[in-house]
């Protein structure tokens, strides 16, 4: 197999500098928001004793879930043997690390006592999935860093596959752990379900691939040398079908979850809340999660004509990301807004807002913190792309490997790389 060449992004491009300036401003705003929240106390946010996890957690969970899924493209080559995707493995590993760091920063800065991070790293209750997650998240960063080393250093290349397999298994465990944060909550009928683990796994595959495609397209839009847009386009078209499959899997598991809940009479209250009369949560579920994050991307990605356009695929990926945020908002915040059913068959009211749908409005510090984390992930990615050769110089290998029955695309690809 011909040697693959990698390149760095040119550091002096005005586009890159503008991007970093904007991301830097967002990061600064996020840090200010976190400092304000910690100094004044969380009463300055929209979070309350009924809704203790808000917008920062939506962002953090999205970033962590996408981080795990972003490594999928590397797994395709290292674990599933499709060597043609090897040129993309470095970018995939990089995104996995930077997205995870962004998510963790948001999570840590939202803690009531972030100054006690050392306590969190030294005191563990191993019955808590949160404690396991601390190991899984930090271990993931370390393992993917080692994996990148295997990919970068020529004499370590042969170890890429075993470390890639370890990274794959680790991220499956990590995403199961993230989903189980909610699935293990016996107290609330909005959680309390084994489906959250596999649901988060398919969500990670979907969101991670969407973000990977968007970053790849953005990076390959840079001036030459390559990947020339046409070659990147071919890669994108290969992967768009995979994204469509992942989006469909998410829809399937969401369908199963709600159908099952509808079978239990004692969960009808919650289902009515999410599906019918929950106000903003119902709107986000149907329009955000199902339409924007599900039906629309499927239509765009599997349409025979439209899906061949790079812009359409990018639009579909953006829809998947927005739909993902909506889905996590419904899961995390909608799940808390619905009251705990402590006394089935009775109406409950108290001074502590028991028995009523809790209200929540995201506040500026929270939004700033969440956005700042996302911006941090993207900024770290951009800086890394400039400093080290993560991007492939040529994607012609992937273009050639078209599989059976795709002769016309292969000819197109060969013509582009000639």
């Amino acid at each position: 197999m011909a040697a693959i060449h990698y390149r760095k992004l040119p550091g002096r491009s005005p586009g890159l500098r503008a991007t970093l300036a904007i991301l830097g401003a967002l990061i600064a705003a996020g840090l200010m928001g976190a400092s304000y929240m910690e100094g004044q106390g969380h009463y300055v946010t929209g979070m309350s004793n009924r809704i203790v996890w808000g917008i920062p957690h939506v962002y953090a969970v999205f970033l962590i879930v996408a981080a795990s899924g972003a490594l999928n493209v590397a797994s395709i080559s290292s674990v599933f043997g499709r060597d043609a995707y090897k040129p993309l493995a470095r970018l995939s590993g990089l995104l996995a690390i930077t997205l995870l760091i962004g998510g963790l920063v948001v999570l840590v800065l939202d803690l009531g006592r972030p100054d006690r991070l050392i306590v969190a790293m030294t005191h563990y209750n191993f019955k808590s999935i949160f404690a396991w997650n601390i190991f899984l998240y930090t271990g993931f960063i370390a393992i993917v860093a080692v994996y990148l080393w295997m990919l970068f250093e020529r004499r370590m290349n042969s170890y890429g596959k075993p470390v890639g397999l370890l990274a794959f298994l680790w991220r499956m465990t990590l995403t199961t752990g993230t989903g189980s944060i909610f699935g293990f909550l016996v107290a609330r009928e909005s959680y309390d379900s084994a489906i959250y683990a596999p649901l988060f796994i398919v969500m990670s595959l979907s969101f991670g691939l969407a973000i990977f495609l968007l970053v790849l397209m953005a990076a390959s839009a840079q001036p030459a040398p390559a990947p020339a847009p046409a070659q990147a386009q071919a890669v994108v078209l290969r992967l768009k079908n995979l994204l469509g499959v992942f989006v469909a899997s998410v829809l399937y598991l969401v369908l199963v979850q709600h159908l099952t809940n509808l079978y239990f009479t004692n969960r009808h209250g919650f289902e009515r809340f999410i599906l019918v009369d929950g106000g903003v949560y119902t709107a986000l579920f149907w329009i955000g999660q199902m339409l924007l994050g599900g039906i629309l991307p499927l239509a765009l990605l599997f349409h025979p004509m439209w899906s061949r356009s790079r812009r359409i695929v990018a639009a579909a990926a953006i829809c998947v990301v927005l739909g993902g945020f909506a889905q996590l908002y419904v899961i995390i915040i909608g799940g808390q807004a619905y009251p705990i059913e402590m006394f089935p068959g009775k109406e409950l009211s108290s001074s502590f807002f028991d028995g009523v749908v809790a209200s929540y409005a995201p506040s500026l510090p929270e939004i700033a913190l969440g956005l700042g984390g996302f911006a941090l992930a993207l900024a770290l990615t951009a800086v890394a792309l400039v400093v080290l050769p993560f991007l492939p110089a040529s994607l012609s290998d992937i273009v050639i490997d078209t599989g059976a029955g795709r002769g016309s695309e292969a000819a197109e690809g060969r013509a582009a790389s000639a």
């Binding site: 106390g41 203790v52 009531g112 306590v119 808590s128 409950l348 001074s351 028991d354």
Partner: protein
């Protein structure tokens, strides 16, 4: 006189039993612990609340806030509440009743299971507490509590009672007035209910067969909240 082995062993066991038995009995009977004695699993503190006797008053809430220095800031959504009065109205029959709701001090507390640092823990004598030194304020226990008993401290606290340290950024809930229990007194809510309320609350050691709490639980029907969760709470209710 010569003893065979069996007789000797039999006498030894009888003698040991005779020496140990009075000691065990004394440990059971001891009520107030001395400060240098640790909490022990021989006791399990609990509450019995009779919702029929529970009136519309809120003396339990006032007493708890006074004893533990829990003050609001006029922001009910974020102000902590260790105990609150809840009103129940049956959707089918319209029957209305009220009851105090606080931490149920479960035998298998979900809040203890989910705490990543082990700050939320159950003491040997069954009282579920938060070690504020270790709490990082992640609020996972607030999500996990089936009774909504936990509060997050959303603002800086001043003027704390010396016996009840509490501060911003950590999570807290009813401590069964552990500072009073440890010196042999009863929780403030029980004392206030006895004095000024409907005399609806009984506090005691669930393991002490001679105590009033244990006796009433044995003799009268009572129930736990959300019994299907099998958490075996130390707080039991009557009239629900």
């Amino acid at each position: 006189m010569s003893l065979d082995r069996r007789a000797f062993l039999g006498m030894g066991v009888a003698g040991a039993g005779a020496m140990l038995a009075p000691g065990l009995r004394l440990i059971e009977l001891a009520q107030a612990r001395s400060p240098e004695e640790a909490a022990s699993t021989l006791k399990r503190w609990g509450l019995l609340i009779d919702t029929v006797k529970c009136t519309d008053c809120e003396v339990c809430v006032t007493a708890c806030n006074e004893e533990n220095g829990v003050a609001g800031h006029g922001r009910p959504a974020t102000d902590p509440q260790w105990i609150r009065k809840a009103t129940l109205s049956d959707k089918r029959t319209g029957h209305v009743q009220s009851l105090p709701l606080m931490c149920q001090h479960c035998e298998d507390p979900p809040c203890v299971d989910v705490c990543p640092t082990g700050a939320s823990f159950k003491r040997a004598d069954g009282i579920v507490l938060v070690d504020k030194h270790t709490c990082i304020g992640c609020r996972y226990c607030v999500m996990a509590c089936p009774y909504g008993a936990r509060s997050f401290v959303h603002e800086a606290v001043t003027g704390q009672k010396p016996d009840v340290p509490r501060g911003k950024g950590t999570v807290e809930s009813c401590t069964l007035c552990v500072q009073r229990v440890d010196r042999g007194a009863t929780p403030a809510c029980v004392e206030a209910c006895d004095k000024d309320g409907g005399k609806a609350m009984v506090f005691g050691d669930l393991n002490d067969r001679a105590g009033e709490l244990n006796r009433r639980l044995r003799v009268e029907p009572s129930s736990a909240l959300r019994p299907e969760l099998s958490l075996d709470p130390a707080v039991r209710y009557q009239g629900l």
